[in-house]
Amino acid sequence: MSKREKILIVDDEKIVRESLYHWFEEDNYEVETAEDGEIALQKYEKGKYDILLVDMKMPGMSGLDLLSKVKEIDKDALVILITAFASVPTAITALKNGAFDYITKPVDPDELAHIVNKALEQRALKIENIQLKENIDEIIKPDNLIGESYQMRKVYELVYSVAITDTTVIIRGESGTGKELVAKAVHINSSRKYFPIITVNCGALSESLLESELFGHEKGSFTGAQFKRKGKFEMADRGTIFLDEIGSISPKMQVELLRVIEKKQFNRVGGNELIKSDFRVITATNEPLEELVKAGKFREDLYYRLNVFTIVIPPLRERRDDIPLLVNFFIKKFSTAMNKKVKTVSKEALDFLMNYNWPGNVRELENAIERAMVVGKTDSIMVEDLPFHLSGNNFASDGEVKTLAAMERKFILNTLNENGWNISKTAQILEIDRVTLYNKINKYNLSKNEY
């Protein structure tokens, strides 16, 4: 069990004490209140508090007096002063006398949370708790990262070996293979796991939106920006930023990105304050970055900065053994969500799923199961529930079709069968001459009775 931090709120206004009491109580603190400096001092002498929030202006003992007395008892005591705007100069004096910081009423919730967290981290209380948890936690993977095939076990090995380092990772794989899940697996097995992993889909945003999304903006920095917004790099402080579809960012953003990754500091759009953030970078792409570099579309220096440790996720067609596991996982998932009593998949339907080529990978399989469960009428998924038409092109019905020659053989055979072995028509569709088609038929030993 981690220890709950103890906080003492000292304010003569009942309403202020109550508001702060509830706010910190919900935030998992052990909270006590005192209505004046005397009572606060008595409480402080009896039991140690990790942090004190003290109003500057109180009848009797002032906040400044209380600060001095508390510091006499414990010179490391963390005291945050609450001031009205008018008493800011006094609060600054208080800082010189050992107060940790001050807040001006009313305070932005985000700022209050930030100041309190900063104070506690200074005493390393939170860090100790985190370290305690890290020692007892075992290696974990996200619940929905499914697969026990040899290929996926290799992926897990890479994930676990790189997670404990702070190395930049690039995840490569076709669309729908689960790159985000692998990024998450790296994050939750790293020392950063108690801080967030922030995902940014770089391909979905225009250059200006991406800039604002990544770096944040100040209030009024553009029309409609009524409130400031922290950027994704800021939110990823002590956590991980996952930049998906990295190959699609503009040359200008590539420069910005390189700078922020190297310096770990930036300005919000329309702001002057230099924001520092300690983040780990994980990127993903299904594009051939090397070719983009050669074509001058992706900066070489950024490429080398990102391409430190690569994890390649195999397409689903190369790990068919995982299909039954994935199917069962999705059935369970959608049964709960749809409140349906579907429990299994028929043998015919599973054979069908095992032989399909899955160009859209796991995401396509998930969609197929979801659709089947919507239209299905029984407690088992049947072939007719699946959203496919029997087209030869996406099937590897005779088992593992892995080589180019095997694919070509299968494709030619399917086209011949679809066209009733009409050689002229088939050759026309395949855009080859009839002689070449005959040669292929002989080469692959194709016959009319074969399907």
Binding site: E13, I15, V16, E18, S19, L20, H22, W23, E25, E26, D27, N28, I82, K105, P106, V107, D108, P109, D110, L112, A113, Y194, F195, P196, I197, I198, L209, S212, F222, T223, G224, A225, Q226, F227, R229, K230, E234, M235, G239, T336, A337, N339
Partner: protein
């Protein structure tokens, strides 16, 4: 356990309907809409141009003695508690009442661009969050959990949209 949704000066009927549809999928209990007939003007702060959340909840407590269940009020107006500039919502920890304001969940205040899907997503998260407090849940350290604290809109967006394994056990009738 019944869940009551009480709109207070809340006029986005489409959002309300979509919220109920989503909650109905997630909870085994029915989501009932009730009218509490609270005059919010009484709780308006002229200085702050916002409504005092704690006092609204106190008024709701007086009016709902006979109701058995959790009562989540939903409003469009901007709400506050003293000391803080604003709050998204307030709840009675391990109690019956909560108030949620969607005012600062609107994306147009941050980017100038309206986004109804994002508004619904944020509303669902914050509704579950306040309801979780009513079931006695405090803030969770898991960023994938809807009970993670969200002092700003950025945290609302990055935290998960459902309860983590630890928190879910405390929320009655929650399916997933």
């Amino acid at each position: 356990m019944n869940i009551f949704l009480a709109p207070l000066r809340f006029y986005n009927t489409l959002l309300q309907q979509n919220l109920i549809t989503e909650l109905s999928k997630r909870f085994s209990s029915e989501i009932n809409v009730i009218d509490l007939n609270i005059d919010l003007d009484e709780f308006f702060s002229v200085d702050r141009k916002q409504y005092f959340s704690t006092q609204i909840i106190a008024e709701a407590i007086k009016l709902t003695d006979n109701l058995d269940g959790k009562i989540i009020m939903l409003t469009d107006v901007d709400i506050f508690v003293p000391v803080l500039t604003f709050i998204f919502g307030e709840a009675q920890l391990n109690g019956k009442h909560a108030l949620l304001s969607v005012c600062r969940l609107h994306e147009e205040f941050y980017s100038g661009i309206s986004n109804d899907n994002l508004l619904l997503e944020r509303t669902i998260k914050e509704f579950l969050h306040e309801l979780g407090h009513c079931y006695g849940l405090r803030h969770c350290i898991d960023w994938d959990c809807v009970m993670h604290s969200s002092p700003g809109i950025e945290e609302v967006d990055i935290k998960g949209s459902t309860f983590c394994r630890n928190c879910i056990s405390k929320v009655e009738g929650y399916r997933y």
